[in-house]
């Protein structure tokens, strides 16, 4: 059928029912079974706010901290746990820039978004420099052919310290990284919006985005990420 996107082994086994339902096309490359098994879907009890996998359905400590800081609650839905396999996946997709990997989860994430009929899809943007060197926005890659609204753009030309090397405190202190694109407020006003990002780590990125969109008159703002 094709080569596994991650380990390059030939995938000869029959696609599972879930794969058949999720896949845009039967010829699209997939993950082999052993690579698939390393990713863990978020199922059962989760934090009602950020969507992280838990044993209980109470608000998690990260979200409690957001509440203390007076931030509006942002309900997030995440598809997968951010485990070792997902970290490795993100490394190859985002940092190495292996654009093919978007196909591993794009059908699944698109199917979930389609369940929110009528919502306006706003992807988290990347900086112009990242766009130039990476050649793509990893969130748009996941969203495939869905119609999206580029309501947000990054505010700083460049980030002095990369996200991953900051600690939580530093990240939370960083100011609003986004601004609305020209004319975006007219599109946003009165709409239900779902903001999409690849990974929910501290929630900072999504909280800043949601704050801005709410200010501009969005009716509701929720979010969806591939991993949490």
């Amino acid at each position: 059928m094709g080569q596994c996107l991650i380990c390059q082994n030939w995938v000869s086994e029959q696609p599972s029912l879930a794969q058949l339902l999720m896949m845009a096309s039967i010829h699209a490359p997939v993950l082999c079974r052993s690579c698939q098994q390393r990713f863990i879907r978020i199922e059962g009890p989760t934090c009602p706010i950020c969507g992280r996998q838990q044993t209980k359905t109470t608000v998690c400590h990260d979200c409690l901290r957001w509440q203390k800081e007076g931030s509006l609650p942002l309900v997030n839905q995440a598809l997968y746990q951010y485990n070792g396999a997902m970290k490795q996946f993100m490394h190859q997709y985002k940092f190495l820039g292996d654009y093919r990997l978007r196909q591993a989860f794009s059908a699944e994430i698109q199917a979930r978004i389609k369940q929110r009929a009528g919502a306006m899809i706003v992807p988290i943007p990347v900086t112009p420099k990242t766009e130039r060197t990476r050649g793509f926005n990893q969130v748009l890659g996941l969203l495939g052919n869905l119609t999206t609204t580029a309501a947000l753009e990054t505010r700083h030309v460049d980030k002095a310290i990369p996200q991953s090397s900051k600690n939580r405190q530093q990240r939370l202190l960083t100011e609003q990284p986004f601004q609305l694109t020209a004319g975006a407020d007219k599109l946003i006003r009165g709409n239900r919006i779902v903001v999409v990002d690849d990974v929910y780590t501290t929630g900072r990125t999504l909280h800043h985005a949601a704050h801005l969109l709410k200010q501009a008159g969005a009716l509701t703002v929720t979010s969806m990420t591939l991993a949490r």
């Binding site: 820039g97 292996d98 130039r132």
Partner: protein
């Protein structure tokens, strides 16, 4: 880590992200596109492979998926280089500080190696395990160093590079040497001798006058188009390429037949004794027995005897998942010998191998990681499940070749335990028998245990 020294870019091809911004600005730095368009499509200039439509980025950019682990090359990036100019520090005399002596057979092969370092036709030194192929390089390398040539020694296997580096450094004590691999702790620096993995050759461009590739038939070099391309392009246009192995694959043998590869052949070990032959034993349904916590009778007896007589050995198993059941079966035997299990991804791999080498262990239970390059003098080997398809003919010949590497014990016992008849085991036996027939004609003798 980004490089900042201009000299570290000589004869290399790196990405902008590998260089400091200051270095990138220097006028001496040249660049060429990383991807080129040919009549048959887009081709990567680093690994020579075709790009597919799958790797099209938005805005019609293309990238290479094949060599992406070394940093992505794309139509957005360039390869940066400084042409090789041989400005490394010249070696001091005496060049060759190795004091050993070669046997007449080794000397003949060594002379051919040196002669072929002057030639552009690739050369294969096919020397049996334990022939002393590293020592046969020394004369040729010494000449090349003397002539001010730049030398690369590469292998697909990190183990082999790590084993080789101190021996090469000792043989050329007044020459500078750098060792380069994926996670090498020492930074690379420009000098006359470079030891690296074959993957790292993707980062060199027309650098070497002499390039040696050791264990050429092993993974991932064998059959890898990108790495073969990298080897050819790491070499300068008039450079000499030498392949080393004890077990050439069919591709190499075909090239030899077509006269596109010169072959020097040495079927005899340095001490003049023949290769130990493989003894085959039946171990029917050994995995089922193992699942019940027991080793096959014969295997158990051999292990007990070896431990009793202080005969050190390696026990090879086909799969990582076989290690735990074998370990618990061994633990039930209450052996007096100390042992450990090890596999490629074992966190303490290097430490365990070192403990075996320093004789703190009596035997090692292992998967195929130790089949080449690594030598423990005076050992025997056993393979449980030798008929498993993970063992190629070459791997089995290499495993048998671990035995008889000590001058005072130039032979030993090689026992393969199989569930059934298998082509790989028969093939390995046949290859060793053939090599020994040729070795006999050169005066080789079989070793008899006293």
């Amino acid at each position: 880590m980004q490089i900042n020294d201009l000299r570290d870019l000589i004869g290399r091809q790196l990405l902008a992200a590998d260089l400091t911004p200051e270095l990138l600005e220097r006028p001496e730095v040249q660049s060429r596109p990383a991807i080129k368009k040919t009549t048959s499509g887009w081709v990567c200039n680093r690994c020579g492979q075709q790009l597919t439509s799958q790797t099209r980025l938005p805005h019609q950019q293309m990238y290479c998926q094949h060599c992406i682990q070394l940093g992505r090359v794309s139509t957005l990036t360039k390869l940066y280089t400084i042409a090789e100019n041989h400005t490394f520090r010249q070696s001091q005399t005496p060049i060759l500080t190795w004091q050993g002596r070669l046997s007449p057979n080794q000397l003949a092969a060594s002379n051919r190696v040196a002669a072929n370092f002057q030639q552009t036709v690739p050369h294969l030194l096919w020397a049996v395990t334990g022939a002393g192929k590293t020592e046969m390089l020394f004369a040729g390398l010494a000449e090349a160093i003397q002539a001010g040539k730049r030398i690369g020694i590469a292998s697909p296997r990190i183990d082999v590079i790590l084993e080789l580096a101190p021996r090469i450094q000792a043989a050329f004590a007044h020459s500078e040497l750098t060792v380069l691999y994926g996670k090498s702790p020492e930074p690379y620096h420009y000098c006359q001798l470079t030891l690296c993995t074959t993957h790292q050759l993707l980062r060199f461009y027309r650098a070497f006058d002499v390039l040696v590739i050791d264990e050429v038939d092993s993974f991932p070099f064998a059959g890898n188009v990108g790495l073969h391309f990298a080897a050819e392009h790491a070499l300068n246009a008039s450079g000499a390429l030498l392949y080393l192995t004890a077990t050439p694959d069919t591709t190499l043998l075909r090239l030899a037949k077509q006269n596109r590869l010169r072959v020097t052949y040495l079927p005899l070990r340095y001490h003049g004794f023949l290769l130990p032959e493989i003894h085959r034993h039946l171990a029917f349904n050994w995995r089922k027995r193992l699942a019940r916590g027991r080793l096959p009778q014969l295997v158990q007896r051999k292990i007990q005897q070896n431990v009793k007589h202080h005969q050190r050995f390696l026990l090879f198993l086909p799969r990582v998942t076989d290690l735990d059941p074998v370990e618990s079966a061994l633990n039930q035997l209450n052996l007096a010998g100390r042992f450990a299990t090890v596999h490629a991804a074992h966190p303490n791999r290097a430490d365990i191998v070192m403990r075996m080498r320093t004789e703190q262990l009596d035997f090692l239970v292992t998967t195929t990681i130790l089949e080449r390059g690594v030598t423990f003098p005076g050992i025997d080997v056993m393979v449980l499940g030798a008929d498993d398809p993970v063992f190629s003919v070459a791997a089995l010949v290499q495993i048998a070749g671990r035995v008889g590497r000590k001058p005072s014990r130039p032979g030993g016992q090689v026992d393969f335990f199989c569930h059934g008849m298998a082509q790989n085991v028969l093939g390995a036996r046949r290859m060793i028998q053939q090599l020994n027939r040729r070795g006999q004609r050169m005066g080789g003798k079989a070793w008899v245990n006293a």
